[in-house]
Each structure stands twice: as C-alpha cells, then as structure tokens.
Amino acid sequence: MSESPLKTEPADNGEGAETSPARKGKPFGWSTFVIAVLVVVSAALVWRRDGIDGVWTILFHDISLFGEIMPRVLAGCLLGGLIAAVLPHDKVSKSLGPESGLKGLLIGTAFGAILPGGPFTAYPVASALLAVGADFGATIAMVVSWTLIGYGRAVAWEMPIMGADFTLWRIVISLPMPILAGALGRFVYVRVRHRFKL
C-alpha cells in the first residue's frame, strides 16, 4: 500500500494547520493519577474524621451530582463535534485566526459570553474552534469570557451564593479581561511558540 505513515496522524487528528498536530489528554494520564491519589487520601481522611457514614454521605451526594451532569457532558461533546464539522475552516481562520486582530478577540469574547452550559460545553466547543482554525488568542478570549462574564455560572451559582450586587459588579470589572487576555496570549504566543514548540 502507498500509505505515508508521516501523513496519517495530523489528518486523523483533525487539528488545524496553524496549531500543528495537538493531542488531547488521554483518558488516563498523569493528571488523572494525581486526582485519583488526592481523592483516595481525602476519602481516607474523611473516614478517619467522620467514620464510614461520612464517606457514604459524600459518595451518594457526588454520585447523584454525577448522574445529573452526565447528560450535559454528552450534549457538550456532541455540540463540540458538530461545531467542528459545521463551521467552515476558511471563514473561521479568517475571523478568529492569528490575523483576525481585535475583531477576532471581540468575536471570541462574545461567543464565550453567550455560550450556554458549563465546562462540559465551553471546553469541547473551544477545542472545536482551535481545530477549525481559531488561534490561541481568540480561543483564550472565548474561554476567559465564558468563565468571567458568561451568564451560566453567574446566574446558577454566583448570584445565589455571593449576592447579585457582588456578582454584577465583579462582571463589570471583568469585562475588558477576555480581550486583554486574548491580546496578551497572541503577543506571547508568537514570541515563545518556537522555543516551547507550542
């Protein structure tokens, strides 16, 4: 067969030319291991402090939370897959790519602010944008915008716990940050990408 082994991986990976082949985290890497160790140690400490009942209470609560989140994780993954497939590569690289300037950062910011859902949507969609030609700067603007000025977490968690005054005021303070973070990201990226093979 005339397959070139060098060419198969990037194509299979679907990552954009600008961002060279990128690997997503494997299902079980070192980071999962770190979390697993933390969880086991913490569970042991809870067991010593509160006994087996304390362990069960937390476990049942977290399992029900997991059951609640699962369908949303599925929706987020499907949304990410669909957005990567639907968005035209050339248009995305033009409006969110490295040459997109302030407009690209603004689009990324707006997109992050209106995106529904939690981390289960934001990260698959951000990953899809990277794959179809958005640069690090615009994607950083999107992720930072989602986390700092997106309404999802603010309405569901921050307002009930911290109060509406604090939340709105914190969002106003945060308004310029996605654009600044995206601009800083671009500025640094072009200077360090060769050194760190980004």
């Binding site: 990953s127 911290m162 973070a181």
Partner: protein
C-alpha cells in the same frame, strides 16, 4: 429553575446545530455525532473520578485558613494569597463561591475576595486537570493558565481604585 433554562438552551443549541449539519450533508451529521459520542466515552471515566471524588477533597480543605488569609489589611500579600488559594481550591462552584461569601461576611477585604473569585474562575487547578485538559490540547491549557495569571491582580487593582459596589 436556572438549571432548567440552561438545559433548554444547551439542548436547543445542540438541536439547532444538528439541523444545520443535516441540511449541509447527512453524512456530516453522522460523522460529527459519532466523533462527539467517542469524545464522551473517552472523557466519562475522568469526569466520574473528579466529580465523585471532589466531594472528599472539598470536605477536608481548611476553609477557615483560606478565609483568614483574605483580611482587609493584608494588602498585596493578601491578594497574592487569594490568588494561590483560588488556584488551589478544589470542588465545584459551590465550594469556591461559599468560601468567597464567608470571607466577605467575615470581614474579608474586597480586593482580596475579588482576586480570589477571579483566580478561582480563571485557573482553579482541579478544573484545569479535570475538565479543561481532557477536552483540549494540554499545551493550550497551560498556556492559557499562564496568560491568565495577571488578571486576578488586575481585578484587585481595579477594586482598590474604584472601591466597593
């Protein structure tokens, strides 16, 4: 109620984008859904470990210590403490915001509390590992976290200049 609205928006967007994909090409829809489904299957073990395990981590963190470090007279050292604490806070939004709320009610300084909440939102370590790295290229995640580092300090500086709400 808000959870319901978010679910409606989420599944609504999914249906909307599915229709767009289906109208472009039915094969595109199938391939995209299959890819999304595979991502889901790959990610579930990590999410399960994190979500089911984070309750234990949250149960043993010394939240009084974090709250104590955010006093109004702590200045920039307090802001730096807040940034480290925000990055280190495990668990979901309930833990992060509750610590912030306790600090606020317990007389914490406003710049320090804002720095804590912004740092937690931007680069809580557990969220980076648990949610961001499974979905995104790791080099992007670390790069984004590095670039985000100045912003809790900027938020604190803005609060110091303009004052409380």
């Amino acid at each position: 109620m808000t959870a319901l609205i978010i679910d409606v928006l989420l599944w609504g967007s999914l249906i909307g984008v599915s229709i767009i994909a289906w109208r472009q090409d039915k094969a595109v829809l199938t391939v995209a859904l299959r890819k999304g489904g595979m991502d889901f299957i790959n990610i579930v073990p990590r999410i399960a470990l994190g979500v089911i395990g984070s309750g234990f981590i949250a149960a043993i963190i010394p939240s009084e210590m974090i709250v104590g470090g955010l006093g109004p007279d702590t200045g920039w050292l307090g802001v730096a403490t807040a940034v480290v604490a925000g990055a280190a806070t495990p668990g979901g939004p309930v833990i992060g915001f509750s610590i912030g709320a306790v600090a606020l009610k317990g007389g914490g300084g406003m710049p320090q509390v804002v720095a804590y909440v912004v740092a937690w939102a931007l680069f809580a370590f557990q969220r980076l590992i648990l949610w961001e790295i499974p979905f995104m290229p790791a080099r992007f995640v670390w790069f984004r976290a590095m670039v985000s580092l100045p912003f809790p300090f900027l938020a604190a500086a803005i609060v110091m200049v303009i004052g409380k709400p």
